[in-house]
């Protein structure tokens, strides 16, 4: 990976101020689980205001990358820098997740992680409140600043919910919303933290075509209207092609390509990664294969003990047990 690759393409950066300035930058990020290398020397450069998509087959390390960016994982090597609008820079490597969020990076999860027993409104309020200053004492005593904070978070949550179109369902339990609504609620929750960069982990997984279209529009609006830079993991190529300014491809933890959507699509290394030896240029086919892959996470048991990324360990374990059982039956 060299700087040349980055310079090579001039994707249409989003319209906001400071376009072209790097908002998120990683270099040499390497993450290992035991003997397994999940991320291998990954370079990522994200400009302020762009929509950058990260694609790659299952197990390529996309979610590990997200987890490393948001402080959930701490890579053994490398540098991760976030530059907020007001200037300065924060190293995200090993930063605590809630701090990362407060700096301005918000994320959603591949296997939706809403607070299911809370209402949609409460879900969003939790996010909106994290920047408000009111301590437990003032809350217990019902001091004015606590009431003000409560009103502020209420207002903000209503705003965000109406922005994603869930205002009508704000008193429904998050767990009982439809799949597409849950995806949108997760985005709303992330938005409520007032992020500069939004990390979306497969937002379209498990949604139906109409919901997908709505989602596409929502991402675009968030990017253009709110000026939020979006880092997107997605398997649905159609969605990627339509919203992403640039695409970065990971395979086996390594970056194998980067460029505009159309460039990447034609990249032989990418096709190889998705289809193995069969050289097939049909995008649709790529999309299809990928779509099949996606069904995996959707049926995965909810509340699994392992998050994505450590899944490999469990898989082999279960397989070993299965082998054992078969041997002895």
């Amino acid at each position: 990976m060299t700087t040349e690759t980055v310079k090579k393409e001039q994707g249409p950066a989003g319209g906001s101020a400071g376009a072209g300035e790097l908002v998120l930058e990683t270099s040499g990020v390497t993450l290992r689980f035991g003997g397994l290398t999940s991320l291998d020397n990954v370079e990522l450069r994200m400009r302020r205001g762009e929509v950058l998509a990260v694609i790659g087959p299952n197990g390529a390390g996309k979610t590990s990358l997200f987890n490393s960016l948001t402080g959930a994982y701490v890579p053994q090597e490398g540098r991760i820098v976030f530059r907020p609008r007001e200037g300065g820079e924060h190293s995200l490597l090993g930063a605590k997740p809630h701090v990362v969020s407060q700096w301005g990076l918000a994320r959603t999860f591949q296997n939706i992680r809403l607070f299911g027993a809370l209402t949609a409104l409460e879900n969003v309020k939790i996010a909106a409140e994290t920047r408000l200053k009111s301590g437990p004492v003032s809350i217990m005593l019902g001091l004015p600043n606590a009431r003000k904070a409560e009103r502020a978070s209420d207002r903000r949550a209503h705003e965000v919910l109406s922005y994603v179109g869930l205002l009508g369902k704000m008193n429904e339990l998050a767990g009982s919303l439809s799949y597409g609504d849950q995806r949108r609620l997760e985005i709303a929750r992330a938005l409520a933290t007032d992020p500069e960069v939004l990390l979306l982990d497969e937002p379209a997984a498990g949604t139906n075509p109409t919901e997908k279209l709505e989602l596409e529009e929502l991402i675009r609006r968030i990017n253009t209207e709110l000026g939020v830079s979006v880092l997107l993991i997605e398997h649905d190529m159609r969605l990627v092609m339509s919203v992403a300014d640039r695409v970065m491809v990971l395979n086996f933890g390594k970056k194998i390509a980067e460029g505009s959507p159309s460039q990447v699509q034609r990249d032989p290394a990418v096709i190889e990664a998705y289809l193995g030896a069969v050289a097939e240029e049909d995008e649709a086919a790529v999309g299809q294969v990928v779509a099949e892959d996606v069904s995996g996470p959707a049926v995965r048991k909810a509340g699994t003990r392992e998050d994505a990324g450590t899944g490999a360990g469990t898989g082999t374990g279960a397989e070993a047990a299965r082998r054992d059982t078969e041997e002895h039956e």
């Binding site: 689980f33 809630h98 999860f109 992680r113 994290t130 809350i139 929750r189 992330a190």
Partner: protein, 465 residues
């Protein structure tokens, strides 16, 4: 309950993911006659009859180890129980339809008015306020009418444990932290009271009035909670449980062994509450009621403050952490801070209880803070319905009252046997507790449907790598 409904329920309630393959596998196996549900039910009922016979049978002695067993298995009692078991079984198996229709009938009859009451309750705010005022009045003045013995029980045990349970509810019910060492803070509160009133071998800089000790004890417990919490709160579930248990054991043994500081097992004598403002002075003496009213004030105050917390950003953050810590952190919730907050708030409530307790009983020793109590308070909270203030109030009050009441009916030595059985039965029928909180109820329903884990006390999930 009929056979049909029960089998239908069985199919409905078992989660599809486990039953479907199971029943498929079961079909492959040969079902022997004794494995048929009907006969298994009979077998289980007979086993139950034997257990009940043992529970109610002869008192054993160490002199003759087999005495109780011999008596229990040869006496008439066994046959009575077995006959009852067979009768129950027969009614259930062969007269199922009649009984179930009768049950359904009564349910229908009672459903109508109950529904109306519920509607009135939720519709009219005045009704709710009225009922609450009436309940409060009953709580405040009702005990004047009972025997003094029950007044003592009410103060020494029920009110104190209610206060403790309210504190523990913050930790486990709201923040979802499994704390098996809660009584340690109670002990710290009580010993603070002893220290600051000058009752310990080590003297304080100034001896204070018991009321002035309250804020100090709250602060001490707060600090103790943070000291315990800070290093341990990254542990989850069972690991946190055993560490808090260890913390309790350490505090308990300190109290017991550090004779020079705490008087050890000899125990401490503490002055009672008193107020002297010059123009007004009052001393709490032997009469339990003044203590009771004081404790009611503490309890009402705690409830009032904590309810505000529950419906604020803090309560929401706790729920978020309880449900999904990773997502909560990613949403910007400083999880460790909120967990510490829960720990500290719970601990300081416990501190208040400790001071009140020390100042009421006037004398205590380390055995008053035995590990079993930590476990019991936990049981009170979950029995009542964790996360719900009315539930916790009821759970603590009922389960403290019950063993005292059982004294009249069973051998006092066996009281906890019945309490244990009650806990098991309750948890099978109402895992959410008697009066569960709305959030908690939803969590459980979702857990049963296979979504989510319902509490944050799951297996440890360390930060990777």
């Amino acid at each position: 309950m009929s056979i049909k409904t029960s089998s239908a329920e069985g199919a409905g309630q078992d989660s599809p993911s486990t039953t479907a393959p199971l029943s498929a596998a079961a079909r492959l196996r040969r079902v022997r006659w004794y494995q048929e549900p009907r006969w298994r039910r009979l077998g289980a009922l007979l086993a139950l009859a034997v257990t009940l016979r043992l529970m109610t049978g002869e008192e054993g002695t160490t002199q003759d180890l087999f005495l109780a067993l011999r008596e229990d298995f040869t006496g008439v009692g066994l046959w009575v129980w077995l006959a009852i078991a067979v009768a129950v079984w027969a009614v259930r198996e062969f007269l199922a339809d009649q009984t179930s229709s009768a049950v359904e009938g009564t349910k229908k009859v009672s459903a109508g008015p109950l529904e109306r009451v519920r509607q009135v309750w939720s519709a009219d705010k005045r009704v709710r306020m009225g009922v609450l005022t009436a309940v409060l009045a009953l709580v405040v003045f009702g005990p004047l009418g009972v025997e003094r013995y029950w007044q003592q029980v009410l103060v020494d045990q029920i009110a104190i444990f209610v206060l403790l349970a309210i504190g523990l509810n913050v930790v486990i019910g709201w923040a979802g932290l499994l704390d098996l060492g809660f009584i340690a803070f109670f002990a710290i509160g009580a010993y603070s009271a002893a220290y600051w009133t000058g009752s310990l071998p080590v003297q304080p800089p100034v001896a204070l009035n018991n009321f002035l000790v309250l804020p100090i004890a709250v602060l001490t417990c707060l600090v103790a909670g943070v000291i315990l919490g800070a290093p341990t709160l990254r542990l989850r579930g069972d690991y946190l449980a055993i560490v808090t248990l260890g913390f309790h054991e350490i505090v308990y043994l300190m109290a017991k062994n550090a004779d020079g500081v705490t008087e050890g097992a000899r125990g401490v004598k503490v002055d009672r509450f008193s107020i002297d403002l010059g123009f007004f002075s009052y001393e709490w003496k032997l009469d339990p009621m003044p203590y009771y009213w004081l404790l009611v004030v503490f309890i009402v105050l705690a409830i009032f403050l904590f309810l505000r917390l529950e419906h604020s950003k803090v309560g929401r953050a706790w729920t978020a952490i309880r449900e999904d810590e990773v997502a909560a952190a990613a949403t910007g919730v400083p999880t460790v801070r909120y967990k510490l907050m829960a720990f500290a708030i719970g601990a300081s409530t416990s501190g208040v209880a400790g001071v009140a307790y020390a100042s009421k009983v006037g004398y205590f020793n380390p055995e008053n803070f035995a590990i079993l109590l930590s476990i019991l308070v936990l049981a009170y909270v979950i029995f009542g319905g964790m996360g719900s203030i009315p539930g916790v109030l009821f759970g603590a009050a009922f389960l403290v009252w019950l063993p005292e009441y059982l004294r009249e009916w069973v051998d006092p030595k066996d009281r906890y046997m019945y309490l244990g059985a009650l806990l098991v039965i309750m948890m099978i029928y109402r895992p959410q507790g008697v009066l569960p909180s709305r959030r908690r109820k939803r969590e459980l329903r979702m857990a049963e449907a296979g979504v989510g884990g319902a509490d944050a006390t799951g297996p440890a999930e360390g930060r990777q790598p």
